[in-house]
């Protein structure tokens, strides 16, 4: 029974079913949602950790893969993130008390000079949905802010986003300065004008064209 409910929860996340009153997705109209089911599972004594690992994360992973394969687009991913958030509200106290743990910390920001942030937000949501603590520094972020955040969160991985070729230069500068200040820090980069070659050239550790790629990178390094 527990497994079936966790499976159901993963589907609620995958398809973005937030709560019972939510009309989306049409095929789940009238059913419960991630909100109620998470509460039910906790009340039935299922551990918060298990809900995260076996319910929420698989759902988030599936939507990430569908997004990569162009089967769904940004709004559907945002619906999944919303369903995930509705569930996380119930789980937050367990993370705060240490009863449940996230896999690691990811610090993300759009680099100095750039104001684009939809892509960055999406990456932040997907990484969080895959079991990481995410610190979002916002847009127009300089090296100093990244370095301070890394110092406050040792072992965190940094994600840099840029949508303009002009701000790619800043990506290089920020990557170098982070690595100088806190040697060994892993830096992942992404955004429309960036590619694998550029990543190698600036000494970053991973490039990915979509959020799922950075999740896979994190899983390979941290988890």
């Amino acid at each position: 029974m527990k497994h079936e409910l966790l499976q159901k929860l993963s589907e609620y996340v995958e398809f973005g079913k937030i709560n019972q009153s939510s009309p989306y997705p049409p095929q789940m109209k009238g059913e419960l949602g991630a909100d109620e089911l998470t509460r039910q599972l906790l009340d039935a004594g299922v551990e918060a950790q298990e809900i995260l690992t076996s319910g929420l994360m698989p759902g988030m992973e599936r939507i990430g893969l569908k997004f990569r394969a162009n089967q769904v687009f940004v709004p559907q991913v945002l619906m999944s993130a919303k369903a995930m958030n509705a569930a996380m509200i119930h789980l937050k106290p367990y993370f705060a008390s240490g009863a449940a743990k996230q896999k690691g910390t990811f610090i993300i920001g759009t680099v100095m000079g750039d104001l684009h942030d939809i892509g960055k937000n999406l990456v932040a949501m997907m990484v969080e949905g895959n079991g990481y603590k995410v610190i979002d520094l916002g847009t127009d972020v300089n090296s100093e802010k990244f370095i301070t955040a890394v110092r406050e969160n040792p072992d965190a991985v940094v994600g840099l986003s840029a949508l303009l070729t002009t701000t790619m230069v800043n990506m290089e500068k920020i990557t170098k300065e982070i690595k100088e200040a806190v040697p060994g820090t892993l830096v992942a980069i992404g955004g429309a004008p960036v590619n694998e070659d550029f990543c190698k050239k600036i000494g970053a550790d991973a490039y990915s064209s979509d959020p799922q790629g950075v999740v896979e990178f994190l899983n390979s390094k941290v988890a």
Partner: protein, 236 residues
């Protein structure tokens, strides 16, 4: 002379098909809540009073095709090879700035970071469509104006596209002597409000209008290209 316009939402031709496809659906197939969200955003957009645009026509541009540059008065625009070619035959150049305004830009930002990122995204996509539609409107006003002189116009091109660096926007903005339709530039040459565009349109008897297509752009990870490929619909 600088010409400035205030656009009403209703006089703009919004590309609804494109909005729906960016949201991931074919035309007329938006399910709840996206259809409600779009309706809500459209209702609010009808009240927007800060959709604005301006252009300034400059005479006698010198198009240096070998050097990939265009000279206007004493200003050098490093527009790149593609644009020099597109501007070939222009007797005059119209520089423009357009904005969907700060209201919608802020609305989407607040929602995206707050209560409802999905609704925020709908506003974001609508805001982008509005500024593009304002660009279309400005372009057609210009087209009508030059038609009387038997002249034609090119498509519009923006700094940041086709190897034209964004920092040339500083030069572009300086042509407007402060009358920039409420749009300002950051030091790194980005415009605020976010939902703004700027660029240039060629005018002359011998110019050609060419559609802007994915083939002109090298962005492989572009979300629009992915939508086009994923849904097999012809998006530019």
């Amino acid at each position: 002379m600088i010409r400035e316009f205030n656009f009403k939402f209703d006089e703009l031709v919004i590309d609804y098909k494109k909005i729906e496809s960016i949201l991931g659906y074919t035309s007329g197939q938006l399910p709840p809540p996206f259809n409600y969200y779009l309706e809500e955003a459209l209702t609010e957009a009808k009240c927007l009073a800060d959709i604005r645009g301006c252009y300034r026509v400059m005479d006698d541009p010198v198009i240096l095709e070998k050097e990939n540059k265009i000279l206007i008065n004493d200003e050098v625009f490093e527009v790149g090879k593609t644009l020099c070619k597109e501007m070939r035959g222009s007797e005059r150049l119209a520089f423009f700035i357009c904005t969907a305004g700060s209201v919608i830009s802020q609305k989407s930002e607040t929602l995206l970071h707050g209560d409802d990122p999905v609704l925020g995204y709908v506003y974001d996509v609508l805001g982008s469509s509005i500024v593009e539609a304002a660009g279309d409107r400005l372009q057609s006003i210009l087209e009508q104006k030059v038609e009387s002189k038997q002249e034609k116009i090119t498509n519009r091109y923006s700094p940041g596209y086709c190897q034209w660096p964004v920092w040339d926007q500083h030069k572009l903005f300086s042509l407007f002597q402060g009358s920039t339709s409420g749009v300002s530039l950051t030091a790194s040459a980005l415009m605020t409000p976010v939902k703004s565009i700027s660029g240039v349109i060629g005018i002359g008897k011998g110019v050609r209008y060419r559609e802007y297509t994915c083939t002109l752009c090298s962005g492989k990870a572009c979300i629009y290209r992915k939508i086009r490929d994923g849904m097999q619909i012809p998006l530019v």
